[in-house]
């Protein structure tokens, strides 16, 4: 059996170059830098309005991408990458076309174009880098913002404190169409991360990668805590790692036991106002998701061990 790619064997050549304008501790920068190493130079990147457009696409005459890069609007990632791919196909050029959008550009304003591209089974990769709010415009609530979180449009007021709705289950929306590949990724599980990106690259048809990317400025967290937050999101069940292939869902990492959500919340300023009652509500929502995700569909842990990324090369967190 061919050995799977890991963070030691993955390509090391950067295509999101050093000198990009992202904040220290930006989860998006970590995610996209590693995605681009794997996708390689024969790639064309489309980024809609987002932090990545400004920090990576850059400001004329500077750009941090050294592969073809394009932008045109906010809500049309699924559509533009379809057009770019068609243009390349007409010219007989076999190029990996990837759209990298934020959660606002995916969950909310870009959902229609995304659904269209999925339905047409366009031969492209769509990546959502999810920092759970409109961070480029200064932290406004999105369909991805979790329950209870402060944002500038879900402020902590005297009457209402934080967002009252739960995070949209985007993966269910996207995978309701039989697409070639869909996966959730975390920057704290890098072997799992690189394997999923590599798998997405190797497939034909519509591929969707959903990456949890902590945001130091919007989450009001210490820049040094980005990795810990990404890891804790998975351990608490706020985020789970799985892939959907040929209609089958496979959990790629299962926490040994559920860490209470307070351990995740206390690291972030956006949750510091939360009442005991709200925390219990959020914990209840997580428990439901946990049960749905990990039991009883997932076989006992020991039987799946060799497939689990955590038990792969023992270089988590390197």
């Amino acid at each position: 059996m061919e050995k799977k790619m890991n963070i030691r064997t993955m390509p090391q050549e950067d295509h999101l170059l050093n000198g990009h304008g992202a904040c220290a501790g930006c989860g998006v920068a970590v995610a996209v830098k590693n995605v681009m190493r794997i996708l390689g130079e024969n790639t064309t990147v489309y980024v809609p309005a987002s932090c990545l457009l400004v920090s990576g696409g850059g400001m004329y005459p500077h750009s941090a991408f050294d592969v073809p890069f394009f932008y045109s609007a906010f809500e049309n990632t699924g559509a533009v990458i379809s057009g770019i791919k068609a243009g390349y196909r007409r010219q007989g050029k076999d190029v990996t076309v990837v759209g990298i959008a934020g959660d606002g550009g995916t969950f909310d304003i870009g959902l229609q174009a995304l659904a269209g591209a999925a339905e047409r089974n366009e031969d492209v990769i769509y990546i959502c880098v999810d920092n759970e709010a409109y961070m480029n415009t200064g932290t406004q609530r999105s369909g991805s913002t979790p329950f209870g979180a402060w944002t500038t449009t879900t402020p902590v007021g005297k009457r209402v404190q934080g967002k009252r709705q739960f995070k949209k289950d985007l993966m269910s929306v996207v995978s309701s169409q039989d697409i070639a590949y869909a996966a959730t990724l975390s920057i704290a599980h890098m072997n799992d991360f690189v394997q999923k990106v590599e798998k997405a690259k190797s497939k034909k048809g519509f591929r969707f990668l959903h990456i949890m990317t902590p945001c130091t400025s919007g989450w009001k967290s210490d820049p040094s805590m980005t990795y810990d937050l990404a890891r804790m999101a998975v351990e608490t069940g706020m985020w789970s790692l799985y892939e959907i292939e040929d209609g089958e869902t496979r959990v790629t990492y299962r926490p040994n036991e559920m860490v209470p959500i307070t351990e995740y919340l206390k690291l972030q300023g956006r949750f510091k106002h939360m009442s005991k009652e709200d925390i219990e509500t959020l914990q209840g929502w997580i428990c439901q998701k946990w049960n749905k995700r990990y039991c009883p569909a997932v076989p006992p842990l020991e039987k799946k061990e060799e497939e689990l990324a955590l038990n792969g090369d023992h270089c988590e967190g390197v």
Partner: protein, 391 residues
């Protein structure tokens, strides 16, 4: 051998697309445009046209796809109307700045509340600041011919701007006329393979349309304005080339009818021109010195051409098939702007709104106003023709 077919305006547009060997065609249906994409789908599924036909989830996505495909350097087409054009609005501002010579056929239809599916120019007039060239056509032969001319103009290295071909909903889109189809080899000679200014290509990587600060964006707008200006001479040149190749010519930015010795004239656009021609003929037979100017291009606007063509007039009228809800129609305000400093009285004539029928008497009524105006009588600056009763 050239063939002759009985085609609707929409079919003529589709035949033009086929003859131009367009490669990527994102599409979304809307009345009265839909037949264009249906006809193209037939061509593709019958193996008569080799192109990527992408059914979009909206007009916004259709234009986004066209932009993506054109950015890789292939010839691209899409079509829409009214609400579809309005939904594209945001994306229409991208191709002019990124210099993507996309062709868009807009089948004119009224827009917004209190409207139906019939012809009015509010939809495309609202986009005249976007940086697209805009031509309004009179018959189905002109539809086909302007698809051919449009690509040649748009892709010319001195222009490289997107091209919007506007044709009247139903009056042209669904009306069958005689259309002469050129041979494929003739079109291939007239319209060489598209060579883009810039393209997305991993072999020559470049970032296109990234953020631009105030330190550079003003120069980009200046260049766009210059490009639109340089399109004027290219439009005329291509019309001459077209005449050499196919034996038909349209006069470039404007065309004139019975302007020799005319004392009053009306500016018209679209199919209204054909009806107005009849009115002119009848009035000329009565000995009245009337003439007609067919405004073909709204962008670039024919400032100099209009001044030259109207020099000898005693009164000038402007037909407007849309209204800015600010007293005047857009063609009038632009014409009066071009005529600044001239002492010829200019009046606006709003008619055919919401697809209301335009008949010969309506245009005769306009010429009546113009003759009064020419004789020094006071007339309204703007008259609505064909209103039901006194409003």
């Amino acid at each position: 051998m050239r063939s002759v077919k009985a085609l609707t305006g929409n079919q003529a547009a589709a035949y033009g697309v086929k003859l131009c060997r367009v490669e990527v065609i994102p599409n979304y249906p809307i009345t009265p445009q839909t037949i264009i994409i249906e006809q193209i789908a037939d061509f593709i599924n019958d193996g008569e046209l080799d192109a990527d036909f992408i059914p979009a989830d909206s007009e916004h996505s259709a234009m986004s796809m066209a932009i993506g495909a054109a950015a890789t350097g292939v010839r691209t087409f899409t079509a829409t109307a009214s609400h579809g054009l309005a939904l594209m609005h945001e994306m229409l501002y991208v191709p002019p700045q990124v210099r993507l010579p996309i062709m868009l056929v807009n089948v004119n239809r009224s827009l917004g509340a209190g409207s139906g599916i019939w012809v009015e120019y509010n939809d495309s007039m609202a986009e005249r600041d976007s940086g697209w060239m805009q031509v309004y056509v009179e018959d189905n032969q002109e539809v086909l011919d302007m698809v051919l001319q449009g690509y040649r103009i748009a892709e010319d290295g001195r222009v490289v701007l997107p091209f919007m071909l506007c044709l009247d909903g139903f009056v042209l889109s669904h009306t069958v006329e005689r259309v002469e189809l050129p041979q494929q080899e003739e079109v291939d000679r007239f319209l060489p393979k598209f060579v883009p200014l810039n393209r997305l290509d991993p072999k020559v990587p470049m970032s296109m349309n990234i953020a631009v600060s105030p330190a550079h964006s003003m120069e980009m707008r200046y260049q766009l304005d210059r490009q639109m200006d340089s399109a004027r001479s290219v439009i005329k040149e291509v019309d001459v080339e077209f005449a050499k190749a196919f034996g038909r010519s349209y006069g470039g930015l404007i065309d004139t009818y019975q302007m020799e010795g005319a004392e009053v004239a009306l500016i018209t656009l679209g199919t209204a021109t054909s009806t107005a021609r009849v009115a002119v003929d009848e009035l000329r037979a009565e000995g009245k010195k009337v003439g007609l100017i067919k405004l073909r291009f709204m962008r670039p606007f024919p400032h100099e051409e209009l001044r030259k063509a109207t020099k000898h007039l005693k009164a000038l009228g402007v037909f407007d098939r849309s209204i800015s809800a600010n007293r005047f129609g857009p063609v009038f305000t632009e014409t009066r702007n071009s005529m600044y400093g001239s002492d010829i009285p200019i009046t606006d004539h709003i008619a055919g709104i919401g697809g209301r029928d335009l008949t010969v008497p309506v245009f005769k009524e306009m010429f009546d106003v113009l003759e009064k105006s020419a004789s020094g009588k006071k007339v309204r600056e703007c008259t609505w023709h064909g209103l039901r009763g006194e409003m």
